[in-house]
């Protein structure tokens, strides 16, 4: 059992909207061990990206606690938080909008080092930029190019280099490959894995793509409408999915094979609105196994098998 690097307890983030209170993240708890990867999976609007941003305090949480190395992140003042940002970083989904179009590659990678005054000597800073570029596989002749002159894969490498430029220990990866082509996707995934092994990084990997998360994560938490509905080790979750939503999600992935066909579970309807949700199972209206109780009461997250948690009335203890 490794050391818990990050622990999230009962995290809540509500947004006020004209239509009511939007429960983007609703009572989410998990923890990640040093050097491991937690996959946060769900469809659009399930609150996975909001969770990532709340952890980094790019958004302020409504309620709950976030502990990083035992330190309560939400209690830090702005200077302490600024210090902590040297260790916790984020990689964004869209390599087209996450880089300032008016800065060159070297300026983008250098900016965090300069802001935190980690290296004050200009020449040394330049060496460090070259070192980082090499680390993420960017050719040094690109140092003066602007992001719009590069393709998506290279831009994402710039984003990774920027995230690594400080003493990074922990990275929130918000759909880092979903905007990329398949062949480039594989390159970036491999790079991120290598960097994890080399630098001992810890990741939260946010994605909607189950095949990517399976390949990448140690543990997986599946989210639906702001709640974690199933949580287990990657192996366990894929071999033995329990929640009806996880099962449907797994079967819905188009598989690039023709020999073994998996029977598809087609869900009815679409995700409901997270604004003022009712007190029932949030998946009840799409579930193929809905019972009376599902419409009455919200299920709690129960440990069904050792280290395998499920939020469903059908599976209790």
């Amino acid at each position: 059992m490794g050391e818990k690097l990050l622990e999230v307890k009962n995290l809540k983030k509500y947004f006020h909207t004209p239509k009511g209170l939007l429960h983007a993240v609703d009572d989410v708890s998990f923890s990640i061990e040093q050097g491991k990867t937690l996959g946060l999976v769900g469809e659009s609007g399930c609150g996975k990206s909001t969770t990532g941003r709340v952890i980094l305090r790019l958004l302020e949480a409504t309620d709950g606690d976030i502990y990083y190395k035992g330190q309560k992140i939400r209690d830090l003042n702005s200077n302490e938080m600024r210090n902590l940002r040297k260790e916790i970083q984020i990689i964004f989904q869209d390599p087209f909008s996450s880089l300032d179009p008016r800065m060159t590659v070297s300026e983008i990678i250098e900016e965090p080092i300069r802001l935190h005054k980690l290296i004050t000597n200009k020449n040394e800073r330049f060496e460090r930029v070259l070192e980082l570029m090499e680390l993420v596989g960017l050719s040094e002749r690109l140092i003066n190019t602007y992001p719009h002159e590069l393709d998506g894969g290279r831009r994402q490498r710039i984003g990774i280099a920027r995230a690594l430029s400080l003493n990074t220990k922990f990275i929130v990866c918000d759909e880092p490959v979903s905007a990329l082509d398949v062949s480039i996707q594989a390159q970036i995934l491999n790079l991120m894995k290598e960097l994890q092994a080399q630098l001992g990084l810890t990741y939260i990997f946010i994605t909607h793509d189950l095949s990517v998360v399976n390949h990448f994560s140690d543990d997986i938490a599946v989210m639906y409408l702001g709640k974690i509905i199933e949580k287990a080790s990657a192996e366990e979750l894929f071999n033995n999915p329990i929640h009806p939503y996880t099962k449907a999600l797994l079967s819905a992935i188009p598989r690039p094979t023709i020999d073994k066909k998996v029977k598809k579970i087609i869900l009815k309807g679409e995700i409901t609105s997270p604004i003022n949700p009712e007190c029932n199972c949030r998946f009840a209206n799409r579930c193929n196994f809905t019972e009376e109780i599902c419409k009455m009461k919200e299920p709690s997250l129960e440990e069904v098998i050792s280290n395998h948690f499920v939020r469903c009335h059908l599976f209790k203890g």
Binding site: D94, E107, E127
Partner: protein, 305 residues
């Protein structure tokens, strides 16, 4: 053996030096200029405006202010264009060409300064409103909405009428009346940039608010602001001329295009040139600024690269 290593080391060093040299920021202005050159209309506008600027700067060498532009010479009044007076003379016998040349100084000066005033105050208010949003945004923008509800020229007239007619007051009046427009443009531009991911990325690496606004938000919202400012210099010149035309601008005998029009309008039937040339000067300046503005709008759009 050792020598070899040293050679390799110096090689490496040299390579790095080269890279560093190249690391000097490639000018984005050069890129914009390259694209601006492709538009013939913009090039015409630039040439025209350069001519006007040169005229304003070297007015002293072109004509003498005291003798040609100001001094009345009733004997020569209302002459048609001839070789002594290229644009003819006005009702007091003053050389119209000389007066237009000196008028350029006032027009460009008032245009630039008043837009400068509007851009500084309006831009700051707009940037604050756009970046922080919420209550601050509401407060700033509602106050400016009140200003915006009064037609620009009417507002300027009121201000000049209250402060008294002088070049200084003219600039202040035109400047103030343009503040709400600039605040709106800057705010809209900041709003569109502020929600992009690279701003969030800057927050994530621990950049402070002022760094983010100055280094990331403003440079990326410059394009529409530059275009708007260029176009607004043109309207400011028009406003100056209009105010002078109705007698609220520059005091006579100072040569100003608008007051030249006003003075000449009684003689328009017999001596067209009196109003034609100042009118032409206004039209050409405004036109060239508009052409440049339109050209810049396209040239500054990075998507067209």
């Amino acid at each position: 053996m050792r020598e070899k290593v040293e050679v390799i080391n110096t090689d490496l060093k040299k390579k790095k030096e080269d890279l560093k040299k190249k690391a000097k920021k490639r000018s984005q202005i050069a890129d914009v200029w390259k694209r601006l050159k492709k538009s013939p209309a913009a090039v015409i506008g630039i040439i025209l405006i350069i001519i006007f600027i040169l005229m304003a700067v070297f007015a002293n060498y072109i004509a003498d202010y005291q003798t040609d532009a100001i001094k009345m010479n009733v004997v020569n009044r209302l002459q048609s264009p001839n070789k002594d007076h290229w644009f003819g003379t006005d009702e007091f016998g003053r050389d119209i060409f000389a007066r237009i040349v000196y008028g350029t100084r006032i027009s460009l000066f008032v245009g630039l300064i008043s837009v400068g005033i509007a851009l500084t105050i309006g831009g700051t208010l707009g940037a604050i409103a756009g970046y922080y949003g919420g209550k601050i945004d509401n407060m700033i923008m509602r106050v400016l909405d009140v200003l915006l509800a009064i037609p620009t020229i009417l507002l300027a007239i009121t201000i000049v009428a209250a402060l008294g007619a002088s070049i200084m007051n003219l600039m202040i009046a035109v400047g103030i009346s343009n503040i709400p427009g600039f605040a709106r443009v800057v705010r809209a531009s900041v709003l569109s940039v502020k929600d992009q991911e690279f701003i969030e990325a800057a927050k994530a690496i621990g950049a402070r608010d002022h760094t983010i606004i100055l280094k990331h938000v403003l440079p990326n919202s410059m394009a529409p602001i530059i275009v708007y400012a260029t176009l607004k210099v043109a309207t400011a010149i028009m406003a100056t001329a209009s105010l002078s035309f109705i007698g609220l601008g520059v005091a006579p005998p100072t040569p100003e295009w608008g007051s030249m029009l006003a003075g000449g309008r009684n003689y328009m039937r017999d001596s067209m040139h009196i109003v034609m040339f100042p009118g032409l000067a206004i039209v050409l300046t405004v036109l060239s600024l508009n052409l440049i503005g339109d050209g810049l709008r396209d040239a500054l759009d990075p998507k067209l690269k």
